[in-house]
């Protein structure tokens, strides 16, 4: 329950059909009973109707009035949860009494959605668990799933896939080198996700965010106490070590040029959230993400397969680079308050809502222009135009962003559609290349 202004709380109470009067009886037990009432917000008083004389509190005694509402939903449970608590001294008045309200609190899920309400209780919940000597638990599988933010791997699978099919178009696809490049890219991506959580925990950005969603606000495993900071750092270091080891092996086998690409990817992934650069704090998260999850991964995979450089994977990955940057961009919308409070000045924090929405429209349009222009220029296969079928999905995201910008929970379907937009567009580009190779 949150504190409320007394007049506001009494106004809210007026919408309830009855109240519950509570006080501490002479035997030390609380008494609570349903009462009829009338209220005056301006006078800060609530008048209680006739009461059984046996159940009246003492004159001047501190009492509480509670007003509670739900709407039953058969087969589900209920919704529309709200309640108001008022406290003050009772003055006996005939057969009833008058409460001079001095203090008020309450909750209305229409104002504070349940998930935000629950999130605001996390620090108190952690303290309580600490006192009990208990820790929240999930299965090891779920914990790893959450801590690494595994579902976001689509951001890696697409550019690596594009690097592979571009190599195949050059008749140079090699399964082993492709798989090793994929594993290295996956490791660095998961390590990056964990590093991002570690640094956002350290700088307070995730703790300040009380409206996390499955697509934003970090994995929360540190905030919820599901994983210790030490374990998180260990996991992160292990993943980076794996990617570096594989990168060195691939460089030794396929050419030392690969070392440069790997180094760029590694530096970008760390500089994204780690001090001193903390590029995402400077509004550079989107270009860094576009570069890392676009050309760097595609070129790295292409080089691992072919052992040489080419502009083809760079150009092939440009549309998905723009779309993955937009995934970050939209997913940062619900985080903007917490990010701003923690000094993480992302583009979303810097831009007005109108600018954010315009930025989305321009960038997503650029991704499709890129797809068409590259075909027209003869750079990419004509079959990659298949990716244009996702245009309605882009339109849906654009509209969803406009309609639900201020509501993190209502924005969730839009964030999901935006991730799907990147995945489907990327898959169709890959399929376009595959058709071109086999036909």
């Amino acid at each position: 329950m949150a504190k409320l202004e007394v007049a506001d709380a009494i106004s809210r109470a007026q919408s309830y059909p009855h109240g519950v009067l509570a006080y501490v009886g002479a035997d030390g037990y609380p008494v609570n009973i349903a009462v009829e009432f009338s209220a005056s917000p301006s006078a800060a008083v609530v008048d209680i109707g006739a009461l059984d004389p046996e159940l009246r509190p003492g004159d001047g005694q501190e009492v509480e009035l509670t007003f509670s509402h739900i709407r039953p939903q058969p087969g589900v449970g209920y919704d529309e949860r709200r309640y108001v608590n008022l406290w003050g001294p009772a003055v006996l008045d005939g057969t009833g009494l008058r409460v001079a309200v001095r203090r008020a609190s309450g909750w209305d899920e229409a104002d504070t959605p349940f998930f935000e309400y629950a999130e605001r209780g996390v620090p108190a919940g952690r303290d309580y668990l600490d006192e009990l000597g208990a820790r929240p638990r999930l299965s090891r599988l779920w914990t790893v799933f959450l801590a690494t933010r595994l579902p976001f791997l689509t951001a890696t699978l697409i550019p690596v896939g594009l690097g592979g099919v571009v190599a195949a178009r050059d008749n140079a696809f090699h399964t082993l080198w492709f798989v090793l490049a994929l594993v290295a890219a996956v490791a660095v991506h998961l390590g990056l996700n964990m590093a991002n959580d570690i640094f956002d925990d350290a700088n307070g950005a995730d703790a300040a965010n009380v409206t996390p969603t499955p697509f934003s606000g970090g994995s929360r495993v540190l905030q919820y106490g599901l994983v210790t900071r030490r374990a998180m750092v260990s996991g992160c270091v292990a993943l980076y070590a794996l990617s570096v080891g594989l990168g060195l092996f691939l460089a030794a086998e396929r050419g030392w040029g690969l070392l440069g690409i790997g180094a760029v990817g590694l530096v970008l992934s760390l500089a994204y959230s780690a001090p001193p650069l903390r590029l995402v704090h400077r509004g550079l998260g989107e270009p860094v993400t576009a570069l890392g999850f676009g050309p760097v991964m595609a070129v790295g995979t292409y080089f691992a397969c072919t052992g040489r450089w080419s502009w083809q994977p760079v150009l092939a990955s440009l549309p998905v680079a723009l779309l993955i940057a937009l995934v970050l961009y939209v997913n940062q919308v619900p985080d903007r308050v917490g990010d701003g409070a923690a000094g993480k000045r992302t583009l979303i924090v810097r831009f007005s809502p109108a600018q954010v929405q315009a930025g989305y429209a321009v960038t997503v349009a650029a991704a499709y222009v890129c797809i068409v222009a590259e075909v027209v220029a003869g750079v990419t296969p004509v079959w990659t135009l298949l990716a244009l079928v996702t245009l309605p999905l882009a339109w849906r995201v654009r509209n969803g962003l406009r309609a639900n910008y201020g509501d993190p929970y209502a924005l969730m379907p839009t964030m999901q559609s935006n991730i799907l937009l990147h995945l489907l567009t990327g898959l169709l580009l890959v399929i376009g290349y595959v058709i071109a190779v086999v036909s």
Partner: protein, 164 residues
Amino acid sequence: MSNPTPLLPTPVIELLDVALVGELTVIDESGRPVTYPLIPLSDGNVIYLTSSVLFSRKLRHIKANPKVCLSLTDPVAIPVEPFHRATIQGDARVVEEDVHEGWERLLPMWGAKEPAIDFFLKKRFGIPLFFERSVIEITPHRVLWWEDGRASEPARVYELAGVS
């Protein structure tokens, strides 16, 4: 948890069986009453409520002062015909040896009132601390019951001295 000879009065058990919300009043550290709307569950002898550690203040109050009171007052949240009202005073105990799974013994009763809880429990990875829960067990010792629901009238009083 069924009991062939429940100690709570039958009309009160009928209310508890269907009530989606009851008002639990506890006493805070200043000696003042604080009331929380919660789903009441019962086996006819003891009243059970659960509280997430996210909302643990009431648990601290009960541990400091176990004297509590639960009212059943809302005709919308308690679909019985004809409608009655009841107030139950008793002593509460916080059971939290296993906050992770201990409360799950109450799931059949909880799920009967709020079927969606089974769905949310399957998604506990999304709100893990919500499902770290303490159980509040109230042993009732006195019941006030208003047959017509009008608490302005004298209540029928049941002293449950036999409850241990």
